[in-house]
Symmetry: C2
């Protein structure tokens, strides 16, 4: 209710959108970062003509409704991104602005100003307190993302009470320090003042924030201006008196006077007119620039380019091999040649993650055509921005950091997973294998923690060719984000004439080799530990023991295979199973059974040359062989 | 090398420490937040007389050495906190400053200025980019933590290269906006200028930051001032030429001239003199204020008060019951009466988390004696600050947020776990049971993700009495942090005359009841799902099936029990096992075996009244009974 006036001005006078075609690529974007005010967004979408009938508004926060407690991405209902956890929508918006700048730079022509969209958001005190917003705001200022226009709902109230309790910084000075254009509107209900500020914001080359002093729960006789208006429903009496105070009919409960509806619908229709004009422009563009137009259409359809798989390199067998982060860099660059939509960066670990794109400038204030962003040491901001890039459309984003720092961006990964966005996380330095940097930098529990997130696919390839296949999965899958988990250290490139094709990666787990018929033992591993089971398998085979080697880069992909395939790889007759992974055991029980063995870690790492850590922690072929002997011995004793 | 001059001035002229008794409570604290410069810290500790011999310096980053790649907490070596992940040390320091203010306010007397310590840190560009630092800095300004004195090593270089790539905000203006006292020193090698700035910082009532312009890798002929000095060793030739340039002997490699050692050791000795003077003051204080002195000593020994367990309330049986967050609030307040060291807050969810402490003011600029901090919507900052409170000593910190937002503070939880700090995380709204707020606020994978972290104990109590026991475990355990996972919704308070005592919580899992002899089926659950297995157990017992009910609040505690106890609770004769938890299955296989059943969730939640979500997702007693029937049926078919 406090933000209603600003939202009204924005939606009726500035925001360009077409409720009848809500995915129009050149539309402005609106993000309600303060997602707890979801009903404001639903109301605007309903009134301006989106496909969100009054019936849905009446089913607010009910099972199966399209009006959940916090907005969940639903373009048809005008919801561009799922918000609620504070700071996330804020950073999504920064990502959308980067995408908009880039797409405009690539496809616009002097006669064809196809893309000129602005990214609007309503942000709250809570958004501004969250670190992710600080990170994203600093980067937005650095990149001078003038398309950003944020309305800050400065209501001086958070859940605990007055912002005087915890939030007394000078917000305006802080945003000026980031390089933003900052305006203040003393009365958030002053429609003309908001209008003027929005116009000025749109003309400034910097990202803009308009701090509008508002009153939370405006109009509620006893609750306005207090934290009671934040999370609690106002109650019947309070509502009735608010309606009386505002000169609104008390009954019916859900009332939209005809003139109000007509007024809002006119805004929606104006947007439709803009869209049709744009369609005309686009039709002429298609004639003049048919190839680029085709590429643009394809990108917004999220189709892959024809024959992109031909771009995926293969790597010759090599006992010395290379780090999977290095293979990843090669594959990424090969794909990027064919896929102009690949766009990403790293959180200040470009060389370590091997995410750099060769040729072409970085994305910067001067080079909007660049496809590589230096995110700075801002993992969480990067996570939110990657989601925003994907949400905008036309972009397949990737972003790199160390696997251990996936923790810093976890809330953003979770939301990307809820939304099933196509985002590729490049997590290198994936174990104690990073060595000397020590336990603070060595992920132990991160594979388990990431695997626990629904819709996220975690892929930990075991050599260069598995890495190539992992990238193919990541850019190919349409139904969610992918985490590529990569080594710092070199691993051998397996001889695929001896071992099965790396295409098995696409099924999550596959038989690399059987040493002998009807295996008595199955050794399985992911990533750098595949090398260990290969060595252990050879030792056991030399003992005459029939052994199967299973490369197991992805639980999620394997789970989606038909039972027949899963039984083929891991026969239910239950040979003795040993899993090897440089991480915690949690969840491996599913694959090894309660009778199986796990060779991994049960505590944090250590600072030392990595081969010593592997030795000291028992991650060796010899130790795996011992584990097998113990298993078989136990059987003999049975 | 770039920060050597500032560190030298700080350690020889300002920092008060006693290398012979590094845990002296009234010492100043020094945090190297930019942990990658660990050798600087080791060198200073070695030179000033800490127990860190040259041999350890020579074993830098080697297995078993006390000089790991990033500093790991080791008071004897002058390392106050484990750093490396950027922004963490920064926020730890803020927590230490809060602790120092509070302890001073409680125990100082006009004649006994016992506590006057400052919290110094060296922070880097990367620290300032991380969101956690923004959160902590804003709160530090709000709370006017004048004890904070940070040296900002402003070297204009991060791993990717110049900070011009990603970090061009006006840092000084930003910190002024937070309410900090900001100084700039143009030449970070100007010892007298640094000295003057440190003196001025110490006198200012606001937190201080001194931006000292430095040159990374100062002295390295080709690498200084470039990102090559960040992560790569300089190499022999570069080192030799640097030594020549600085007028230092090239050989031996590790050389400390006698006069240098004497100069640094003198600083350590001056600190020892200060400590002895303080001991004298403390001795007089002990006479004058014996009770308070005793309490102070106890708090710094991290001993619990005698008979604190008597403070733990018990709750009468109540079929209607209450939310475990509500029981938690009652228990917390009961404990806080006996334990003045309990000190904490919430990230703007005070009423939701039920973490408020009754009576007494909040901790604020005006009320340093307050024990409750409004952290604002700053979960990650709160996490780092909680660790800092624990690191300071004399405090047992707690902090609340929703369980879903544990993701925001995960990097801080991880470091607290690595350091085995006694911190209590109060995570309420622990499942789809929070209802209408929807999937963005409903944790699904968070129990699994937290259980994956070594040294962290996760406790999800099933009723009010289990909650009381969980608090007793949390404040009692000396070897790591505890996450209390609590419901939003009411759960029945079990009748402990019918069911076993809730003290079983301390063993992680315990038999609530056996319906019949030699159970054929074991039902196990944590938290709010205990209610479901109790109901299911009664249904099955009515069918005449012998059933055991196991309350399973903590995997970690159960894992630490002797095998005999574990076999008692979950007999290896393997009755059919069913686990019920409103979360993902991952890891439960360990307890139910591959033949068991899991009744839980395999995807995100939904926005609706919570009982409907439980129904729709099959988390009901009826569904558990069906799962048991299926298991038994499968057995019959075998």
């Amino acid at each position: 209710m406090g933000a209603a006036a600003m939202a009204y001005v924005l939606w009726t006078r500035h925001l360009r959108f077409d409720p009848k075609d809500p995915s129009w690529p050149a539309r402005d974007r609106f993000i309600l970062s303060a997602g707890h005010g979801s009903m404001l967004l639903y109301s605007l979408a309903h009134l301006t003509g989106f496909d969100l009938p009054m019936e849905e508004l009446k089913r607010f926060r009910q099972w199966g409704s399209r009006t959940p407690g916090h907005p969940e991405r639903d373009l048809a209902a005008g919801v561009e991104t799922t918000t609620g956890p504070l700071g996330q929508g804020f950073s999504n918006a920064i990502g959308m602005a980067i995408a908009a700048e880039h797409i405009a730079a690539i496809y616009n022509e002097p006669e064809f100003p196809l893309f000129d969209q602005r990214i609007y958001a309503i942000v709250s005190d809570g958004d501004l307190m969250e670190g992710i917003a600080s990170e994203a705001a600093s980067l937005a200022g650095h990149l001078s993302l003038g398309r950003i226009v944020f309305l800050y709902d400065d209501n001086h109230i958070s859940i605990d009470g007055s912002t005087d309790l915890a939030f007394t910084e000078d917000r305006e000075a802080r945003f000026r320090a980031y390089g933003w254009h900052v305006q203040a509107v003393g009365d958030g209900n002053d429609i003309e003042a908001i209008d003027r500020a929005l116009t000025a914001a749109g003309q400034d080359p910097r990202p803009s924030i308009i701090a509008a002093r508002t009153i939370i729960g405006y109009g509620l006789p006893t609750k306005q201006g207090t934290e009671a208006a934040h999370g609690e429903p106002p109650g019947e009496d309070e509502l009735r008196r608010a309606k009386e105070h505002l000169g609104w009919a008390v009954e019916p409960s859900f009332l939209v006077p005809d003139d109000v509806r007509a007024h809002f619908e006119a805004s929606g229709r104006r947007g439709g007119d803009l869209h049709r004009a744009w369609d005309g422009l686009m039709a002429r563009y298609r004639k003049r620039h048919p190839e680029r137009a085709g590429e643009l259409d394809r990108r917004f359809r999220a189709d892959l380019p024809d024959g992109f798989e031909a771009a995926i390199p293969t790597f010759p067998a090599d006992p010395k091999g290379k780090a999977t982060r290095a293979s990843s860099g090669i594959v990424l660059n090969a794909l990027a040649q064919r896929m102009p939509e690949l766009f990403g960066g790293s959180a200040d670990l470009t060389t370590s993650n091997q995410t750099q794109l060769k040729g072409g400038p970085d994305f910067s204030k001067e080079h909007r055509e660049g496809r590589y962003v230096h995110f700075g040491v801002r993992e969480h901001g990067m996570g939110g921005i990657l989601s925003g890039l994907a949400l905008h459309g036309g972009i397949v984003p990737f972003g790199g950091t160390f696997l251990v720092f996936s923790d810093f961006m976890r809330p953003a990964i979770r939301l990307a997973s809820i939304m099933r966005l196509k985002v590729v996380y490049v997590f290198s330095h994936d174990s104690i294998g990073l060595g000397e940097d020590g336990p603070t930098h060595q992920p132990i529990e991160h594979l388990a923690a990431l695997r626990a997130i629904p819709h996220l696919t975690v892929l930990r390839p075991g050599d260069a060719n598995e890495t190539a296949q992992a990238w193919a999965v990541a850019v190919g899958r349409p139904d969610g984000p992918t985490a590529l988990v990569l080594t710092r250290q070199a691993v051998p490139t397996l001889d695929r004439s001896r071992y099965a094709s790396a295409e098995g990666v696409r099924r999550g787990a596959y038989v690399l080799a059987d040493f002998g018929d009807l295996p008595d033992v199955i050794l399985m591993a992911s990533g750098s530990e595949v090398e260990i089971i290969v060595a252990a398998g050879e030792l056991l085979a030399a003992e005459g023991l029939p052994v199967r080697l299973v490369s197991f880069p992805s639980w999620e992909l394997f789970e989606r295979q038909p039972q027949t395939y899963r039984d083929e790889v891991l026969p239910p007759s239950r040979p003795h199973r040993v899993a090897v992974e440089a991480g915690v055991q949690q969840g491996w029980e599913r694959w090894i059974g309660t009778e199986g063995a796990f060779v991994g870690l049960d505590g944090f790492g250590a600072s030392a040359p990595y081969k010593e850590i592997y030795q000291h922690r028992g991650l060796t072929a010899e130790h795996v062989v011992e584990a097998v002997h113990r298993l078989l011995g136990a059987k003999v004793r049975e």
